[in-house]
Symmetry: C2
Subunit: 409 residues, 2 copies
């Protein structure tokens, strides 16, 4: 008897018909003799609607209160899905994040899972029940409700799969799997049958639709993650440990092209060029929960001051600017500039670090397309360029073609 954790996103449970459809799919897994835990997101646009509702009483809702408010979205979807299963004659039970043992830190709005206590889930499974768990939410040691941030339900599912030692974690969504690029942008993008955690992590962080923390967790606990469509039976993409033997030809190829369009850049000019400046700048940003991506530091011609540029999401830009302006005087900085019209494009592939020429090839393709590069960062398996947002889609298409990823038509 296998144990599966399945996760369905908001678009898969957007209305009663879709919920009944998901119920039938879950029932089929159970009927095939398996145990199943299903993690569900809030229906459709519920989370956005709740945020709008909060805005009607407060322009800056308290993060703790907002999390308790947002947590109701998943409580609605899990109870409806459980009712739908019961209506089909199955013994289902819904559990909130806290009931399912999802413990987190106190970072409201983007809490991290500290521990999963799967005792209750296991007890319900042992009684032959189909367990439905609210994604996206957990509780602090004080039993306050937290949410895990956008896409957090993926993380809930993988964390539960790890804690339950499940055979596989299936993420059902509105796309059929992981592609070599966003198919809406690059029509010739090809679906990947399988991909390694690290490559997927870069694809996810750089724009593909998966919560990066879920991939991290899957990698650490070695949980095979299968991404497929909730609406069709087409085969999806398996994210798993790539073996060190074999697959050599695969490993030296580029896996895909990722992008994100919500990139903003902050430049702090004329910072004193002395030890500790970077720490003084980025520690408070981290403490404020602002995620900084690319960082570039350019020493000025006279070598006494330096300009530091970094990117954040456009959503974090105003908070980041507030933090920076408070800090400015402490390290003698001059002007602070920002640009919120940027995007990133990335070439991802696990073989790249050992194979020269990928970076220069990327820069050449962008140059030939007349696309200016603002900043560059590289990781072991990724090369990313910050470019003008207007050029993002074109860059993805050019890179997809240039790296020979286009599906044979």
């Amino acid at each position: 008897m296998a144990l599966y954790v399945h996760k369905y996103g908001g678009s898969s449970v957007a209305d009663a018909d879709k919920i009944v459809n998901v119920a039938r799919r879950i029932a089929a897994v159970h009927d095939a003799g398996n145990q199943i835990v299903t993690v569900v997101s809030a229906m459709g646009d519920t989370t956005d609607e709740l945020i709008d509702l909060a805005q009607t009483v407060s322009s800056e809702p308290d993060p703790r209160e907002l999390d308790l408010l947002l947590s109701t979205g998943e409580l609605v979807s899990i109870t409806l899905l459980s009712m739908a299963l019961r209506n089909l004659g199955y013994d289902a039970i819904s559990l909130s994040g806290p009931q399912a043992g999802i413990r987190t830190d106190r970072t409201y709005g983007r809490a991290r899972i500290s521990q999963v206590d799967p005792e209750r889930v296991r007890r319900e499974l042992d009684q032959g029940r189909l367990v439905i768990v609210a994604g996206f939410q957990g509780s602090t040691p004080d039993e306050d409700i937290t949410t895990l941030g956008r896409g957090g339900s993926d993380t809930t599912a993988v964390a539960l799969a790890a804690a339950l030692e499940a055979d596989r974690c299936d993420i059902y969504t509105d796309v059929e799997g992981i592609y070599t690029a966003d198919p809406r942008v690059a029509p010739k993008a090809a679906k990947l049958a399988h991909v390694g955690y690290e490559e997927m992590l870069e694809l996810a962080a750089a724009g593909a639709k998966m919560h990066p923390r879920s991939i991290e967790l899957g990698s650490v606990y070695n949980v095979p993650i299968y991404v497929a469509s909730s609406f069709t039976d087409a085969s999806g993409t398996l994210i798993h440990q790539t073996s060190d033997d074999g697959e050599m030809e695969d490993r030296i190829k580029v896996t895909g092209i990722a992008y994100q369009t919500n990139v903003a850049k902050v430049t702090v000019c004329g910072v004193e060029d002395k030890p500790g400046v970077a720490a003084a700048l980025f520690e408070p940003l981290a403490a404020a929960g602002i995620s900084v991506d690319t960082i570039v530091q350019n020493t000025s011609a006279d070598r006494t001051t330096t300009d530091i540029s970094f990117t954040v999401t456009t959503a974090d830009l105003s908070r980041a600017l507030r933090e920076v302006s408070q800090l400015k005087s402490s390290f003698g900085a001059g002007q602070v500039m920002s640009d919120e019209t940027l995007a990133s494009v990335s070439v991802v592939g696990s073989g790249m670090q050992n194979t020269p020429g990928y970076a220069s090839r990327m820069f050449r393709i962008l140059a030939d397309g007349g696309i200016n590069i603002d900043m560059i960062t590289t990781s072991e398996i990724r090369i990313s360029c910050i470019i003008n947002r207007d050029k993002a889609h074109e860059a993805v298409r050019l890179l997809h073609e240039g790296f020979e990823l286009d599906e044979a038509g």
Copy 2:
């Protein structure tokens, strides 16, 4: 420094403007140097909307699942109210029923509070916070979510007031207090400045807008309950322990006329007239959570069989009929009949039991109005008649006038 528990119903927090209005009222209590805990119901018709939503996936939603679903309504209203208070500059915190220590039994849909553990609420109050608590909900020893049934937020408020030893529990609603009859039915109804728990209990059970269990709790723990409007500053009605000294003239008066229109009658004909029959009939109904009100037993002419009639709410009728038909054969009953077109009207007053003539006066007033009486029950402070529903409003007006309760115009 006084400690108050205030409760606001769904119509008082139906939209953002009303929530901000409630926030201002709470803030004023705090500004006057008091501690305050506010219990809130779900916004407007949220609970009904959630029930409708459940119906879209299941015609008979599982009670446990339904309770978890319904509990989200109050989580929305408490978080919005807390955000609104914070927006006004106050340090507010919202707590779900379980977080506020409301422990219940496992009777989903109409759970009873077994215990209130006020430790968390007290800790927040000690930090100078304005505490907002979700009404209507609690948790079982297994940490499953329960709801207390319609009007349960009143019970939450009084239970919290008792556990916190609050100075008073204020119930703010869309009426200005407790009247001698429903003002929509009897336009000459007068507002009562104060009323005893027992009389209020009869008025509440017989139709006035208060959750009877909240009055019971108030009576047991001697919590003064003040009922007033959330929209005006008009004085309301204080429900409290009536003193044994003084007020003699008040005590021998009729306090008010109550009614309810959701009465259904079940008659089990030809039941064997032997010991244990009533127990065999009513124990399973109680076990099914069906509340039986009036019970009348008529022995037949031949004295070997009897007819038993009882009333339930119209909402419980189909379940009651199902239970009874399962039992029928076990005590040799014949036909089961039902009538769901009934209402009850009651004359309530704490002095009635020692004062003859009230019952006959009631029957005379109804008879003179051409209103037929189907069943009669009396308690120490109440006389109730079951009549045809079409006559209910007329009966209330006639009794209100006949017992000289009409306000001097």
